[in-house]
Amino acid sequence: MTRALPIRELSLFVGLLVAVLAVYAAMGAAYSTRMLVEAACYAILALGLTIQWGYAGQFNAGVMGFVALGGFAAMFFSVPINPAFWNSEMPGELGRALLALVASIMLIYGATRLDRLGIPKRLRTLIAIILAVVLYLVVISMLRDVTGEIESRAGFIGGLGLPAWVGWIFGGMLAGGIGYFIGRICLGLRSDYLAIATLGIAEIIKAFLKNSDWLTRGTATVSPLPWPTPGARDLGFVLARALYLSVTAVVIAVIFFLLHRAYHAPWGRMIRAIRDNEVSAAAMGKDINRRRLEIFVLGCILMGIGGAALTSFNSIFNPQGYLPLNHTFLVLVMVILGGPGNNLGTIFGAVLVYIIWIMSEPLALFLMENAATLGQGWFGWEDPGNLDSRALQARVFVIGLLISLVLRYAPKGLIPEKVPRYN
C-alpha cells in the first residue's frame, strides 16, 4: 500500500522548489519573499476549503466573505485606539444603540415563543412580524444617528490596540460564527443551495464592510496595520518578511498536524464515509447534518485566520480589495489542482497556483504588448491603449478555463487523496 519512496510527491515538490528559486533569481529576494508569504496565507485558505470540499464535498462559493471577515477582525483588534472617539460621549450612545439591538432581538425571539402561552400560532406569527418590522425601524434609525455622528466627528471608531494575533483568533471566530449561521440553514438541503447562499453572504459582508464608514472607514481604507513580528523599518524588507513567513509557516504546520491527526482519526473516517455514501453513514447511526455543520464551521474558521494573516501582511484594510476572483476562485483552483482531501497536495497547489497567478501578470502583459506591436507592424492595428487592465481581464478567463480543464481531466488533482484499503 505505501511505497518506500513517494516519487510522485517528491518530484512535484522538487519542481516547485526549482520554480521558487527561479522566481528568486528573476525578481529579487524582497519581492519573492513577499510572494511566498502571500502564498502561505493562501495555503491556510486552501486548507480551509479542502476541509469543506475535499473532506466533506461541500462547495463554498464565498471564500471571499470569510477572508474579508478575518481581515476586518485583524484590522479592528490591532489598529491603535482612536481617542477622538473614546474621549467623547459617543461610545455611550453607540453602546445604547447596540443594547437596544440586543433587547429587540430578545423581544422578537420572545414573541416567536408566544404560542407557549396559549396564543394561536397565526396570531403569534403576525405579532412577531409586526414587532420585528417596528423594532427594526427604531433600531436602524438609532444606529443611523449614532454612526452619522461618529463619521462626522471622529472619522471611525478606531481599533482596540491589541497585538495582531488576537485579531487573527477573533477573525477565525467571527468567520466561524457566520459560517454556523449559513450552515444551519443550508446544510440540510442539497449542496447547490450552499453554493448560492455562500455566494450571497460573501457579497453582503463586502457591502457591509464597504458602506459602514463608522466601523471600517469604508473606501477610505485603514492603514498601516501592525504586524505580529517586527516590521520592515527595524529589520529591512527581506528579513522582516522572512520572519513573517516563518510565523505563517508555523501556523500552517500546526493546522497541518491537527488536520493530519483528525483525518486519520475515527472522526476523519466518519467524515469521509458521509461524503462517499451518505445513506449508509446515516444507517450506521451518524448524525450527518451535525457533522457537516462541524466541518463547514471548521473550514470557515481556517479561512478567517488565513484572511486575517493576509490582511495583516498587506498592512492595509480595503473592503474593495476583496475580490471574488482572487479570494474565491483562485483558492478553488488551488484546492482542485493540488488534490482535494489531501493536505499536502493542497499546500502544493496553493504555492504553485499562486506563483503562476503572480507571474502571469507580467507574462500576459509581455505577450499582449508583443501581439500589439506585431499587429501594428503587420496589419496596422490600432493599440487599444489600456493594455494593463485588459491583461488583467485575460487572467479572469484563464482562471475560468483552468477550473473547467481541471474538472474535466484531473478531478482528483496532482497529488490525489490516498484512500487507504485494509485487506
Binding site: F59, I196, I201, N211, S389, F397, L407
Partner: protein, 334 residues
C-alpha cells in the same frame, strides 16, 4: 396625490421592470435545473453576453432602427438572441456534456458553470473594457410623461420607451412559453423529461434534442432580458454581478423546476427590492399632522439603504429556505 404618483414611479414602475427581468432570467435557471439538475451559475453572464452582442451589432449598424421607428438595439435583438442561443448550446457541448457523460455529482456541474462564468466575464471585459455604454447610439431615449386627470396630482407618471418595450416583450415571452410548454410536442417532451428523465428516455424521447432546446430557450430569454435591462439603464460588463442572486432567489421562491413559479418569484423579488429601498416617510407625510406629539417621523424610513439592496434577495432566499424549501408553488427541493 403627488405622493401616490411618487410611489407609482418609484415602486410600481421600477418594481415591474426589475421583476420582468428577474422573471425572464429565473425561467432559464429553472428550466436548466429541471432538465439537467444543476444550478447554472453562468446564467447571469449569458444575459451580459446577449447584451454585449447587441452592443456590438448596434455599434456596427447604428441607423437600422430609424427605418421602422424603433431603437436599433431592439431590431437587432433577435440576431443576438440567436447568437446567444447557439453560444449556450456550444457551451453545453464543450463544458457540461463531457461532465454529464462522466456522471459527476451535480455540485461539480455547479463548479464547472462557475468556470464558464469566469470565462465569459473575462472575454466580455477583454473586448468591452470595464466602463458602461449606452445601447442608444444614434437615437434618443423617449420618455413618456402621463399627466393624471386629477386636480391634486401635479406630477406626471414617468415611463421610458425601453420600459414599455420590456413590459410588452415580457408578456409576449411568457405567453409564448406557456403555449410552447402546454401545446407543442417538444414542450410536452420537456415536461416529461423534467418529471422523470429515465421514463422519458425509455418512451423514446431524444434527450439530446431536449437538452439543446432547453439551452436555446434559456439562452435566448437571457439575451433578451440582458438587452432590455441594458436598454433601460446602460450596458455594463459587471451586469451579471447584480443579477445572479436575485435570479436564483426568484427561481427558488417560485419553486425550482416550475416555470410559472419562476415568473411569480421574479416579481416577488423585484417588488420586494423596490419596496425595501423605498422611503416610506414620503407616503406618511400627508398624514403627519395627525400623529401624536411624541411620535416624531424620521426623514428616512427606508427599510434598507440602496447600497444594501443585495441583502433583500438574500433575505428572501434565507426565509424561503427556512420556512418552505419547496417554494411557493411546491417545486422540487434541489
Amino acid at each position: 396625490m403627488n405622493e401616490l404618483v411618487f410611489f407609482i414611479n418609484n415602486v410600481v414602475v421600477s418594481g415591474t421592470v426589475s421583476g420582468s427581468i428577474y422573471a425572464m432570467g429565473a425561467i432559464g435557471v429553472t428550466l436548466v435545473f429541471s432538465i439537467m439538475r444543476f444550478a447554472h451559475f453562468a446564467h447571469a453572464d449569458m444575459m451580459t453576453l446577449g447584451a454585449f452582442v447587441v452592443l456590438l451589432l448596434t455599434t456596427l449598424f447604428p441607423e437600422v432602427g430609424g427605418v421602422v421607428g424603433l431603437p436599433s438595439a431592439l431590431l437587432l435583438l433577435p440576431i443576438a438572441m440567436a447568437v446567444t442561443a447557439v453560444a449556450a448550446v456550444g457551451i453545453d457541448r464543450t463544458f457540461y456534456k463531457p461532465l454529464r457523460a462522466h456522471d459527476v455529482k451535480p455540485i461539480v456541474m455547479v463548479i464547472a458553470s462557475l468556470g464558464v462564468t469566469l470565462m465569459l466575464q473575462g472575454l466580455i471585459r477583454l473586448f468591452a473594457g470595464t466602463g458602461s455604454e449606452s445601447l442608444y447610439i444614434a437615437e434618443r431615449k423617449d420618455i413618456f410623461r402621463i399627466e393624471l386627470p386629477f386636480e391634486l396630482a401635479s406630477r406626471p407618471i414617468v415611463v421610458t420607451e425601453p420600459q414599455i418595450i420590456l413590459f410588452v416583450f415580457a408578456i409576449v415571452a411568457v405567453v409564448s412559453l406557456h403555449l410552447f410548454l402546454s401545446r407543442s410536442r417538444l414542450g410536452k417532451a420537456m415536461r416529461a423529461m423534467s418529471d422523470n428523465p429515465d421514463l422519458a428516455r425509455a418512451s423514446g424521447i431524444n434527450t439530446n434534442t431536449i437538452v439543446a432546446v432547453t439551452w436555446v430557450i434559456a439562452g435566448s430569454l437571457a439575451a433578451a432580458a440582458g438587452t432590455l435591462l441594458s436598454l433601460d439603464v446602460a450596458f455594463k460588463p459587471d451586469l451579471s454581478f447584480f443579477l445572479l442572486l436575485p435570479i436564483f432567489a426568484a427561481a427558488i421562491v417560485g419553486g425550482v423546476g416550475h416555470p410559472y413559479g419562476a415568473i411569480a418569484g421574479g416579481f416577488v423579488v423585484g417588488f420586494a427590492e423596490t419596496l425595501a429601498v423605498f422611503n416610506w416617510s414620503v407616503l406618511l407625510r400627508p398624514i403627519r399632522d395627525s400623529f401624536p406629539e411624541w411620535l416624531e417621523l424620521p426623514s428616512n424610513l427606508a427599510l434598507v439603504g440602496t447600497e444594501y439592496k443585495i441583502v433583500v434577495p438574500f433575505f428572501i432566499l434565507v426565509a424561503i429556505l427556512v420556512w418552505r424549501p419547496t417554494g411557493i408553488f411546491k417545486g422540487k427541493v434541489i
